[in-house]
């Protein structure tokens, strides 16, 4: 239902946006008749409602239509090609974000007001303040152009080898994940500070449990409950909004498909991409809700 509402809204809003894709596409050709021929061929001359009904009919059959531009590649092909790149980048960026955020958040909480806490806070602010495109360009200049350690651009599918895949993703994943690591680290710190003050942690200490056991087994799972929501949103955002990173590293992921489609007024591509993005958000929200029950069995859906 939500997906259908989103799809309908996008369909009509997109057509309300000014800008004719065919006039722009054939501007240099300077032949208005050619634009009209294409308009008829693509069915864009028909009433909006008819176009909508036709699109919905095709969608129910699993057909998202074809791009208006160039070779008229099916939208489903464009999305299927973009998804592995986006998932790869999002997963690695998320892993980097979590890998930095969880230890940093725990250490900052356990060593409250210490040098480590202040250093973590400072780094978190730095991570939040740095624009991702700037960080991306700095990473390229240092690690690709000067040190020649990692490639500056591009993406290689995992089918061509894990290392080639990974080395193309390290820099973009760091650029995309840094800001989220800062946000999540701050969330974990404050959540941990709340949890370690609670009675059951005091009891665990009184029982003489080891510090690591208290922190990792008893405190962390409870501290993660509010953080999980933020993590879910972060992951969803990484799946759809890393367009700047994708541009800088020349990776055509879902974000770039969407933005390029909007700039070109490529209606079928934008409609298809938004549909998939909305489904990703719905799926991740569902996943987050399920994760709550795993982390805290007291939470039940009734």
């Amino acid at each position: 239902m939500v997906t259908w509402i989103v799809a309908t809204l996008v369909f009509f809003m997109l057509r309300a946006v000014p800008g004719d894709p065919l006039v722009a596409m054939l501007f240099d050709v300077g032949d208005p008749a050619a634009a009209e021929e294409l308009r008829q061929k693509y069915g864009l001359d028909r009433p909006l409602f008819i176009q909508y009904v036709k699109w919905c009919g095709l969608l129910l059959q699993g057909d998202m239509g074809r791009s208006i531009y160039g070779s008229r590649v099916p939208v489903s092909t464009i999305i299927i090609e973009a998804l592995p790149r986006t998932i790869s980048l999002a997963l690695l960026a998320f892993a980097i974000a979590i890998g930095i955020a969880i230890p940093a958040g725990i250490i900052a909480a356990l060593r409250k007001n210490s040098f480590l806490d202040h250093a973590t806070t400072l780094l978190a602010f730095l991570g939040l303040s740095m624009p991702d495109f700037w960080l991306a360009i700095m990473l390229i200049i240092v690690f690709a152009a000067n040190l020649h350690w990692l490639p500056a651009i591009g993406y290689v599918p995992i089918s061509q080898g894990v290392w080639p895949w990974l080395k193309h993703l390290i820099l973009p994943a760091i650029a995309a994940g840094t800001a989220f690591s800062a946000i999540i680290a701050r969330m974990i710190r404050s959540s941990m500070l709340e949890v370690i003050k609670t009675d059951y942690i005091q009891v665990a200490r009184a029982k003489g449990l080891r510090k690591n056991t208290i922190t990792l087994v008893h405190a962390l799972p409870n501290a993660l409950i509010p953080v999980i929501t933020v993590m879910g949103i972060a992951f969803a955002l990484l799946m759809a909004t890393t367009v700047v990173i994708e541009n800088v590293f020349s990776i055509k992921g879902l974000g770039r498909v969407l933005i390029q489609g909007i700039l070109n007024r490529d209606y079928p591509v934008v409609q298809g991409a938004i549909l998939v993005v909305s489904m990703i958000f719905i799926f991740i929200n569902l996943l987050v809700d399920i994760l709550y029950t795993v982390i805290d069995p007291r939470i039940r859906f009734e």
Partner: protein, 595 residues
């Protein structure tokens, strides 16, 4: 005004160019063979003189064509290897199907995959590509092409006359091709036998032969494979077209790039030299540079190399930067229907126009544009001040003194005086203007706004819109100022006909015609000069007409001209890019080697 490339011409070269130009234009336009003996128009090889004549006759001869070629350098390296090229300023190569290609950056690739009937090298010698030889009838309306035998498409199909017919029929159908207009003068194409075809034209047309002279990739008569198109849909063919060219497409994914591999069955066993070419589209500027510097790419193709990178590349001893004048102009258009800049009749003598309030404001804006400052700040000192559509790449037609003679010559004092005379002393009482621009041109437009603020104390607000919206607004004359221009202008016609005539395709095509008699400009004398210069045979006479039209459009402020760009080929030193492959508009890689 310093034109470095012109200065670098030796005197004897200048004389040679001058003599060739005179000869190229020395024909009677009524002659169906353009003043050439019939065998001069026939192949297997067509002389430089004949090619220059045909280019002149079709209005496509440019200074770039006249640059002396040095021929093929001895190969600096053995054959083989993989070249990785970054394709600048583009996110994806949306098509390689010649019927759909509408961007230079697309046919730069297609030219390596598909073939035309003949091909022209940088020395302007036309050689048979898929045609081995050709003959022309005495009345210039019939061309017989003898096709090369033993040529195969990448899928193994034999190339025959049927493929030429198939290509023609496909290209003339507007539902299948956006280039149908380009061959509208062809009455019929007949198959004489498997390896001979005859083109019948409605009337003699120099551009027909010129178009077929070029490898013609991305044009109407680029030969496509009927066998492949019977099995592939338009999408698959657009992604990986099957042709008879030196390379075949083995991989193409939108946004990821294109891989070309050597076609072992190419009819010339000596070419291509490279085993593989990997083409990666790169949108952003810094990654484009970093990828080249890191060695991830070795050559830049696609859109023009961003001006801000050229100094950096030139200071890098590992790179070769070859700069030639860019064919185009960029400008600031001023809406003549805006109440404060209104000029409803450009036909009035200049002296009368100078008395009009609206014209004074237009001229003030043009005179206040500090082009040197603009080029330095917005173009990183790469470009030449512009005062008209005729650019330095057109050499023979370019007026090197126009920066002093133009009414638009930079003079901030005079500009302020004009504003005061129009009733806006120190910009007081003048409304804020909206400058329509694209996100990509926003920074440059801001420089324009800053210069006008400084010199005229008027406020310019940027109105940033995506390209499709900007074009709609531009066509409908919904703008105060707009930052737009033209590229690929090799001949005076490209600037004058496309932009300066009342009937220009860009001149407010969707305006409200009941309120606006024309779009951005209309001037009878210019219309007449532009029409006449297209048919005049004497090069000196044509130059005079072109320069006069250019001067009028400059003096009467069709727009405020900003700058002419440069064109740069950048590659690593280990890439041997022979001069013969430096063909305007193309990136032919069949002779390129790696050391």
């Amino acid at each position: 005004m310093k034109i470095k490339w012109l200065e670098s011409f030796q005197k004897d070269q200048q004389q040679k160019v001058s003599a060739e130009l005179s000869d190229a234009y020395d024909f009677d336009p009524r002659d169906p063979l353009f003043g050439l003996p019939r065998n001069d128009l026939e192949g297997p090889v067509m002389s430089r003189r004949a090619v220059l004549r045909l280019l002149a006759a079709t209005g496509a001869l440019t200074a770039w064509h006249m640059l002396p070629g040095t021929g093929i350098r001895p190969a600096a390296a053995a054959s083989g290897g993989t070249l990785t090229a970054g394709w600048a300023g583009v996110g994806e190569i949306v098509t390689l199907d010649p019927a759909q290609i509408n961007q230079v950056l697309q046919f730069q690739i297609a030219s390596n995959v598909l073939s035309g009937l003949t091909h022209i090298d940088s020395d302007l010698v036309a050689r048979g590509d898929l045609a081995e030889s050709w003959q022309v009838s005495a009345d210039g309306t019939q061309y017989n092409f003898n096709l090369r035998e033993g040529v195969t498409f990448h899928n193994g199909d034999k190339f025959t006359a049927d493929d030429v017919l198939f290509t023609y029929n496909r290209s003339r159908d507007p539902k299948q091709s956006i280039h149908s207009r380009a061959i509208s003068n062809v009455k019929a194409v007949e198959k004489i036998d498997d390896y001979t075809v005859r083109f019948r034209l409605k009337s003699p047309q120099a551009s027909f032969l010129v178009k077929s002279l070029e490898r013609a990739s991305g044009r109407a008569m680029t030969i496509v494979s009927r066998g492949a198109l019977a099995k592939m849909d338009e999408t698959d063919y657009g992604m990986a077209p099957v042709g008879t060219g030196p390379f075949r497409v083995t991989y193409h994914q939108l946004g990821q790039g294109v891989v070309l591999e050597k076609f072992d069955g190419y009819y010339d066993p000596e070419r291509p030299k490279l085993d593989k070419v990997v083409i990666k589209p790169i949108i952003d500027t810094e990654p484009l540079a970093a990828a080249l510097e890191a060695g991830d790419t070795q050559l830049i193709g696609g859109n023009p190399v961003p001006a801000e990178l050229l100094d950096r590349f030139q200071s890098n001893s590992d790179l070769v930067v070859d700069i030639v004048p860019g064919p185009g102009f960029q400008s600031l258009w001023i809406n003549p229907w805006h109440p404060h800049m209104r000029v409803p009749d450009f036909d009035k003598p200049l002296g009368d126009l100078m008395k009009e309030k609206g014209f004074k404001v237009r001229l003030a804006i043009a005179k206040a544009l500090d082009r040197k400052r603009y080029i330095k700040q917005a173009q990183f000192d790469r470009g030449l001040e512009a005062f008209g559509t005729i650019n330095p790449a057109m050499g023979f037609f370019f007026d090197t003194g126009i920066n002093e003679t133009s009414n638009q010559a930079f003079d901030p004092e005079a500009a302020r005086r004009l504003m005061a005379e129009a009733g806006y002393p120190d910009g007081k009482g003048f409304p804020a203007l909206k400058l329509l621009t694209t996100p990509a041109n926003r920074r440059e437009s801001q420089v324009v706004a800053n210069i006008l603020k400084k010199n005229l104390n008027i406020k310019i607000e940027l109105d940033t819109k995506d390209f499709p919206v900007l074009i709609e607004d531009f066509d409908a004359m919904r703008w105060d100022l707009v930052r737009i221009g033209s590229g690929g202008d090799y001949d005076p016609d490209d600037g004058l006909v496309d932009w300066m005539q009342t009937a220009s395709k860009f001149n407010g095509s969707k305006r409200d015609k009941s309120k606006q008699a024309f779009g951005f400009f209309s001037e009878k004398e210019v219309d007449q000069l532009v029409s006449e210069q297209r048919v005049v045979t004497d090069p000196e006479a044509r130059r005079k007409m072109v320069r006069k039209a250019n001067q009028i459009t400059s003096d009467k402020v069709t727009c405020a001209f900003l700058f002419h760009p440069v064109d740069a080929l950048v590659h690593h030193k280990r890439v041997n890019f022979p001069d013969v492959s430096r063909i305007p508009g193309l990136v032919d890689l069949d002779r390129v080697t790696l050391s």
